[in-house]
């Protein structure tokens, strides 16, 4: 069928408008601004100074490394915690309950990070629910410090990101034919063998796309580290926020923003190479 050129442009122009004005140009601007500084006479000049700040000041690159290691750790944790759940819902739970269980998974996402993180603040506070419960059952006598620690920050990061792991994993597991597992079992494979040789390899595209989303969400998150983390917890996005909203060093902030985008993409790329996954396969 011959497609009309007129309709084609009617579709193309709005899409170009969206992508160019709100995705392409802003990122070019971000890139350019990151090389601009104001010299003593107030003129804007080209310079690498914003990037040099990152590498010369130990606190900045250490913060980035700390953030990246956390993001990798949380991504791994999200996989370990949610994989059994995804498996249970898709393979074990009866049809009657699986819809309801999936719905329950989605609700915290829609409620939004801010409200659920606030819930964790109430739970983990010194006079919060968890401490009260632990005192009530007699495990401790005085409240232990849970909130504003690396522990509470990890719980918050895991909570807000893990559901983005479970959904792609569930959609790959759904298409896994049960007879593959049955055949392996008939041939004498142990549970562990079935798990590592059949289920995990089959679910790999889902795990990989979940891992990419979780990693990027965690590394770019601000609310959980800011509200649940301690004073000493270093989080890279907080540096970006401070540069924009507190000290108004927009150009330094732009350089940090670009570094965050670039370095996190490099980490994702290296992880894909190491695990032998291809981005195209993950997307489908």
């Amino acid at each position: 069928m011959r497609k009309s050129k007129f309709i084609f442009y009617l579709l193309l122009v709005p899409v170009l408008l969206w992508l160019i004005s709100l995705i392409v140009l802003p990122h070019i601007q971000l890139f350019i601004s990151s090389f601009v500084i104001e010299n003593d006479s107030g003129d804007k000049v080209f310079s690498f100074a914003n990037y040099l700040t990152f590498f010369s000041d130990e606190i900045y690159w250490r913060t980035f490394i700390n953030t990246a290691l956390y993001a990798i750790f949380i991504t791994f944790l999200a996989f370990v915690v949610t994989f059994p759940v995804a498996f249970y819902i898709t393979k074990i739970a009866s049809k009657k309950y699986s819809g309801f269980m999936t719905l329950l998974l989605l609700i915290p996402i829609w409620i939004g990070e801010l409200v659920t993180i606030y819930g964790w603040m109430i739970l983990l506070g010194d006079h919060g629910v968890v401490n009260n419960f632990l005192i009530y059952i007699g495990l401790i006598d005085t409240p232990i410090k849970l909130l504003y620690t690396d522990f509470s920050m990890s719980v918050g990061l895991l909570y807000m990101s893990m559901l983005f792991m479970i959904i792609p994993v569930m959609s790959t597991l759904e298409s896994l034919d049960n007879s593959l597992i049955e055949a392996a079992s008939d041939l004498g494979a142990s549970k562990w063998t079935i798990f590592t040789k059949i289920i995990i390899p089959y679910a790999m595209p889902g795990i990989t796309s979940g891992a990419i989303i979780v990693f990027m969400l965690v590394i770019g998150d601000y609310v959980a580290p800011n509200l649940l983390g301690g004073k000493s917890s270093l989080w890279f996005t907080e540096q970006i926020y401070n540069n924009f909203l507190a000290t108004f060093n927009w150009n330094v902030g732009a350089a940090f923003g670009f570094l965050l985008l670039f370095l996190s993409s490099v980490i994702v790329w290296v992880a894909l190479k190491l695990s032998g996954q291809k981005l195209e396969r993950v997307g489908s």
Binding site: I23, L104, I111, L114, T116, G119, Y159, I213, I240, L245
Partner: protein, 283 residues
């Protein structure tokens, strides 16, 4: 392992306990917020001091309830109107993008599709600062050179709408694309051979087929917009959205009125989710 294979009772029970613990972890923060919204106390903590609706309706020196708190109500209104406009724009542009990428072949299609998916992995912070910098510098440029002062290029209501639209459109595109993949092309061809114009065939055949996906994409875009913080915080002017207002209060002046707002959000979201489930069941 799966139901058709025998497994030990320990495995079955262990798995059930794990699932129970997981769902406890999932709902605990939400349940606790909702319960403490009705606690007759000035502080957001246990012990339970009795049931009270003060944090919804009171207006005294010590307690200002949700429905008496003008700032909070205003931020809810800002969030609703932002969410509505964002959902409207992203539904239109996202549907157009889905039709373009699903049905047409053209040069640079792969590259454009990559750009359209990029907001899924670009951290919200980056989207926020890049849109902030580009729009304000365009604003200054127009003001200096053409004496043109465009308010919507500076932080404020419209910049928030544009910023949230930039990534909500991607989600709409994916949802509509999924439905468009199931579309039977011969329907459109039949319409054309019956002398419908191409525009008529889109409006009378394709769009009605896509309607369920378009409606749920609209809801999804609204919800994403309604809860967004990371991008919004950079683009905001004097009209704060609900998440930004909540953040400021959690950080600097929290009272149980925050629980009351959160309770309303939880109820609203749950209702939308349940309605959505029933609508999908009917099909």
């Amino acid at each position: 392992m799966i139901n058709s294979l025998p497994s030990s009772p320990a495995y079955k029970i262990g798995f059930k306990i794990y699932m129970g613990l997981f769902y406890l972890f999932l709902v605990l923060p939400i349940v606790v917020i909702c319960i403490l919204a009705f606690n007759d106390s000035d502080f957001i903590a246990l012990p339970w001091k009795g049931f009270s609706l003060d944090w919804f309706f009171a207006n005294t020196d010590k307690r200002v309830g949700l429905f008496e708190d003008a700032d909070l109500l205003h931020s809810i209104w800002v969030s609703i109107s932002t969410g509505f406009l964002v959902a409207l724009f992203s539904t239109i542009f996202g549907t157009i993008a889905a039709m373009l990428f699903e049905e047409r072949d053209f040069k640079f299609k792969g590259f454009l599709y990559f750009l359209a998916l990029a907001p899924l992995v670009i951290p919200g912070v980056i989207l926020g600062i890049s849109i902030l910098m580009s729009s304000t510098s365009l604003g200054y440029f127009l003001e200096d050179n053409y004496n043109l002062s465009l308010e919507w290029l500076y932080p404020g209501f419209w910049l928030v709408v544009f910023g949230q639209f930039s990534f909500c459109a991607t989600y709409v595109m994916l949802l509509v694309s999924a439905r468009l993949k199931k579309f039977d092309k011969t329907l459109e061809e039949a319409a054309l051979s019956l002398r419908a114009t191409r525009l008529e065939s889109i409006f009378l055949i394709t769009l009605p087929f896509l309607r369920p996906a378009i409606i749920s994409a609209f809801v999804v875009a609204f919800l994403i917009s309604f809860s967004n913080f990371n991008t919004t915080i950079f683009l905001i002017g004097s009209d704060t959205t609900l998440p930004v207002e909540l953040y400021t209060r959690i950080k600097y002046s929290s009272t149980p009125v925050l629980n009351a707002v959160s309770f309303m959000i939880v109820v609203f979201i749950t209702l939308v989710a349940v309605v959505n489930l029933f609508v999908n069941r009917k099909k």
